[in-house]
Subunit: 443 residues, 2 copies
Amino acid sequence: MTGFSDPIVAAGVAGLPALYASGVSPVDVTEAYLARIERLDPAINAVVELDAAGARAEARASARRWAEGKARSPIDGAPIAVKANIGVEGLVHSAGIKAYARNVAPVDAACVARLRAAGAAILGTLNMHEAALGATNDNAFLGRCTNPHRAGFTPGGSSGGSAAAVAAGLCAAALGTDTMGSVRLPSSYCGVVGYKPALGAISTEGVTALSWTLDHVGVHARSAEDAALVARACGVGEVAAAENRPLAVLDLDGLVTLEPAVAEGFARTLDDLTSAGWRLERLRIEDLDLGALRRAGLLISEVEGGIEHRRALALDPEGFTPELRSLLAWGARQTPARLAEAYRLLTETRRKILVTTAPYAGILTPTTPQQAFAFDGAIPASQADLTALGNVLGAPTYALPSGEANGLPLSLHLIGRAEGATQALAARLSQALPSATVPEAFR
Amino acid sequence: MTGFSDPIVAAGVAGLPALYASGVSPVDVTEAYLARIERLDPAINAVVELDAAGARAEARASARRWAEGKARSPIDGAPIAVKANIGVEGLVHSAGIKAYARNVAPVDAACVARLRAAGAAILGTLNMHEAALGATNDNAFLGRCTNPHRAGFTPGGSSGGSAAAVAAGLCAAALGTDTMGSVRLPSSYCGVVGYKPALGAISTEGVTALSWTLDHVGVHARSAEDAALVARACGVGEVAAAENRPLAVLDLDGLVTLEPAVAEGFARTLDDLTSAGWRLERLRIEDLDLGALRRAGLLISEVEGGIEHRRALALDPEGFTPELRSLLAWGARQTPARLAEAYRLLTETRRKILVTTAPYAGILTPTTPQQAFAFDGAIPASQADLTALGNVLGAPTYALPSGEANGLPLSLHLIGRAEGATQALAARLSQALPSATVPEAFR
């Protein structure tokens, strides 16, 4: 992402050590982000709860470490915020649900503890779609979060606050969670990198579950390099291996309808990649039904989410919106055979795609069939149809900014295989793609 | 495996091209195996149905290709047999269940089609535990299959016929299936290599399902090299990457009770590996409950297997043994919440192990807590407790022969991460382990 006038914000994560070497201190960096949050967040409502005192203390400790040549990691001193379903010691752990308004996290989630151990300054928690079950981030309890690229437009969800905060330069990077696309979808709408590592690559301990089958923790950042640095600090361990196989471009004909701007942008991206020497091969996967897969994923999320929240649902039903209550109640009414068939569709789709795509280094699609849309319009049903493939596979996946259309971001979706090789692929692809532009009011 | 006097059998899979170069023909190879089956199978009952004519035709075609320098793959001409739940065109596809006694496969399973495309001569189908749901291979319909190492002893299961046939030198290699350990467990008891590639690495199309969540197709062979060659012919695509991380030795204290001979053999193997320069680190995974995991895996298999067989159960209940009927009926009586909790335990265990073992190239345990046992003794409940971890993870795994105790084989279990790196690890480990001995009557 290019266009921030403040060199601190422009440095993202990877550029910070060079700034420290030039005399900027981690304290300056945290102060710069805290000041931007105060000034700019009211326009988008991405931040839920700040821990300014805690972040400042961590920044001071980081400054001492850098001064002594004892930095703990490349992200030591980077100000990072996390989605409100990720526990941060002493802050409200609501998952965007009013019933948990007084649920203060007693300890950090495992991923937050890892970030702190790597030296990050944890700024606080970010807005999200209620319970992570939905993709508009129009949250009645936390308030609507807005896309920094256009007032009145959704940032996407469920990690809408995370993507919006990164796009608006309110933190160096953010953590989100992704059950059917909740990191990559808002990253697509907000023009930032969304990186969902493989299932289990980042621990979900201390994260409110929506679906233990499909949940992943992921990273929102302004570059693929930043995202990989933060993911490694969270425990993503595999190193890159040489990868010389071609990329498969999934044939979407009959699978999903792309908005014209998305279809045109995707075709342009493929042309650019081919010109740059990438080997791309169109791949048809037979009998893939993205709508059926979406319904299966939703059903599983409704059943598993219903189990996760059953105590709170019994104690404080009014603490859930009627829409969410009705989704979770639907899950509870399913038969074992119907539930088993939903798991079956997921697993058999996973097997089929793994077998079909074995010769390829990864799969390319647009990240979302549409760009960000107005809150007062209809909500497209297919928003997560492409991202959900990454959850079904449990594979490492990226949303990579790929230019703009009509003043709104476009995004390329990469579904990889091995973790390290996918990080390397994403970094190389990024270099061949037009970078996203910072929304004007946030430069 | 060493000790076969016939150079054709001693050549396994990888040694065949050198024999062809020295004047032996693929026709001689297939004839040698057909003659051994006729002479030696009556003692163990590993073979269910032979396709001698088909195998001979394929051997003749292979001979022409080698003569013309047009071999299709390194396994062109290798005689391979498959478990009776894998469809072979024109042969009975029973999955060891009497209800399917007249169910002739109309086409080859995807893995068999791949083997034929690579030039293999498909010999026929092999004995198995009824429906692949059990591990003794004491099959009332197909007859009991016996361990070639000792009369009256189980070969293990469910792919007992596959492991026994490879150990007895009745085929160059065999395919099996593995839901909680059904390739690796009989490989352990029979002293052969069992290789279960990652979930989806070999297609399960055309294979009778037990559990679509846990089923994998795998390979039984006499060396890790042979197993990798056959797996690659079946579509396992990933190539090896450099791997410099240590191996984790799972701390089994309180998790499972090892027979003294297995515990002593495993300790000896670890000593040998350490002496040979391997970096091994003992790893404790907290809150791992192998018994609970086994019950969850069985419950899921009973529910999913019940769905797979529901038509036959309704039409011909007497075609299933009362034991199998009762297991499948138990599955059908579960509530959705109980089933969801079983899936949950699997997924959360998978996440936990992935997070905990990220720094390691792989995990080592014994393959089975016990050695092969007598049919007339008690059946240990924990037989698949260690192998099941590989199915829960969906990771590539190996059973590697590691010497003998009391005249019966011992086996080392390797749970890897990336497919290619695991193949390379297994090959290197094999070189450091004592090779298995061919049972006397089959030399």
